[in-house]
């Protein structure tokens, strides 16, 4: 192959460093590129971008980037659902796979300077939002209030526990967790994540605020309604969409929604943009 032409489908070798169990079927995979130069280039990613992960012999899949570029380590958090994620779950520290990216537009965190940030995550929807939350906390002086609303099915489905503990203890963030079903030890809120907005003691800022929403489709629909009821406009709500992707670079066509190729035009869209795409998400 002609060396002068960049090969957009060529993944680079990565080494798995360690694996951390998050919740049922969800694990965090810490890794680094074998080539230090690749690692350095990759680390310029923005919150909200994604990468294509190759498990040779099984295939390639798009994965959100949960780390913030302000952190030292690179990792993926992946739920085991299909053949590729199962192949990743089968890897042991020291095993090799391959990664290419980062891809996508990411969240325009610089544009949100001086504003309040409200994060609303449902289940594993926290994975892409984690990057923005950590990034915002690392640039704490650039933003006003930071709120995190996080809903999970049960206390056993809360992920990133070390981060949750930090957020609970203040650290410049107002943190409101909730679960659909509590257990004997659960002292916190029980109910869907949108129900938190109107709880006594919770006050969601609306003026000069951006709301980040990520979660399963049902949660997404209801949270949008709840936010609109508070006075949020579609332009103030941003989300990141998930799609089946084969290339990640705007060619294979699988991720197209209406007029957008999610991989290059997204995956981050405002609610206003999502409504203009011309197709259901």
């Amino acid at each position: 192959m002609n060396a002068a032409v960049d090969n957009i489908y060529l993944p680079k070798l990565a080494v798995l460093d360690r694996v951390v169990d998050e919740i049922h079927e969800v694990r965090t995979f810490y890794w680094h590129f074998e080539d230090a130069e690749e690692q350095r280039k990759f680390r310029r990613f923005r919150p909200g971008q994604f990468a294509q992960v190759s498990l040779f012999g099984t295939g390639e899949f798009p994965a959100s980037l949960p780390p913030s570029p302000t952190e030292d380590e690179t990792f993926f958090t992946v739920k085991r659902v299909g053949s590729c994620s199962a192949a990743l779950h089968a890897l042991r520290p020291g095993d090799k796979f391959a990664v290419r990216g980062p891809y996508g537009n990411g969240f325009p965190m610089e544009d949100y300077r001086g504003q309040n940030l409200v994060f609303v995550a449902g289940g594993i929807g926290l994975i892409p939002l984690r990057s923005c939350i950590i990034y915002a906390l690392a640039h704490r002086d650039q933003y006003r209030r930071i709120q995190v609303f996080y809903g999970a099915k049960s206390p056993r489905d809360l992920m990133y526990l070390p981060n949750l503990r930090e957020w609970e203890q203040g650290a410049g963030v107002e943190f409101y967790p909730t679960v659909d079903r509590g257990d004997a030890d659960w002292k916190g809120n029980v109910g869907v994540v949108g129900s938190l907005f109107k709880k006594p003691g919770v006050e969601v800022p609306v003026a000069d605020t951006v709301a980040f929403v990520c979660g399963p489709p049902v949660m997404f629909r209801f949270v949008i309604k709840d936010l609109q009821a508070l006075g949020f406009t579609d332009r103030q709500i941003v989300s990141t969409l998930e799609r089946y992707m084969k290339c990640g670079v705007g060619k294979c066509g699988h991720c197209c929604i209406g007029m957008a190729y999610v991989c290059v035009d997204g995956p981050v869209f405002t609610c206003e943009q999502i409504k203009q795409l011309g197709e259901d998400i």
């Binding site: 002609n2 090969n7 060529l10 295939g59 084969k246 699988h254 290059v264 011309g278």
Partner: protein
Amino acid sequence: MRTRILARVDVLQVVDLLRQQGYEVIAPFAGRGRDTFFDTVTNANRADIQIHLPNPYYPPKRYVLPHIERLLKVQRMNGGWQIEPTVAAPKRAIFGLRSCDVAGIWHLDRFYLGRDFRDSYYEQRRQNLFLVNVVCTDTERDISDDCFCVCADTGPAARDHFDLQLMDLDDGEFMAVAGTPAGEALFASPIFRKGTAAHVERRHAVLSEVRKRFKTTTSWFSATVRYVSQGRILDKTWEEIGNRCLECGGCTYVCPACTCFTVSDRQVGPDEIERVRIWDACALSGFTRMAGGHNPRRAVHDRRNRRFFRKLAHYFIQRELSVACMGCGRCAAVCHGDIGMPSVVEMIRRATAAEDKLEPVKP
């Protein structure tokens, strides 16, 4: 553009010239019945090359975007992997490319080489490809009732994006038009001579006769583009189109402008894997299905909506500078449900006009 005249008996010498220059020459041949196909020219089949014939259903886009193309060869080595990109970009010439297919390759050029990322596999194949366009002038053999290049504004004679264009002037002579310096370089051969004003007149006379042959003279593209872009198409129209779709994917496989592919790893040896890309079709239900089973586009009419939106929406036309339909008529010929592009355009136009939401006088 530079033009020359050559005798009909010398036309296949263009193939010989290209072969002498080291090109693998692809040309159209006739099989049994309606069947026609592109194949590599050899000494044995050179005399069978057809100048006038129905355009092959299997589109020549496979010479820039193969039906199955290997992207990577991956070998397991000392606990790691050795990843080797593979590209096969032979020096090739397509002889007898119809004007619609010239426009198709130009459309693929803008898609695969445009925007943020350039596809290096496509690029290298394309750089090594020489295009000889033959204008459809035989109203019986070249043009079928499904052809509508005049509506898509791609034919019958391509205006550019070929290296060499050949046109039968119907009096024992062909006109050759050079579209690139590489095409013009062929004019050094003694088979070409300078033409006269009479030849130019003859070209225009032939073309105006040929244009009258097309059955679908109005495809209503412009109105449909507007309706699609404005989201004014009725759900029942998509449902009707969806009901007639057999989900075979045929329309996308024969389309010279369809770009979608899937990527798959296949085991080729105990420690060796190939990553290949394969043409894919948005008509197929698994096209958008994600791991875990969630499928945002479930009903077949959603998927038909998708295909025609992608081809006709103003947003994409602006980005790619043309409707993603070249008017070749292949989808109309292969579709068992009669929902090729001309039919769909007509169905949309009729249904949307019949229930015109913008009609100022309501009943």
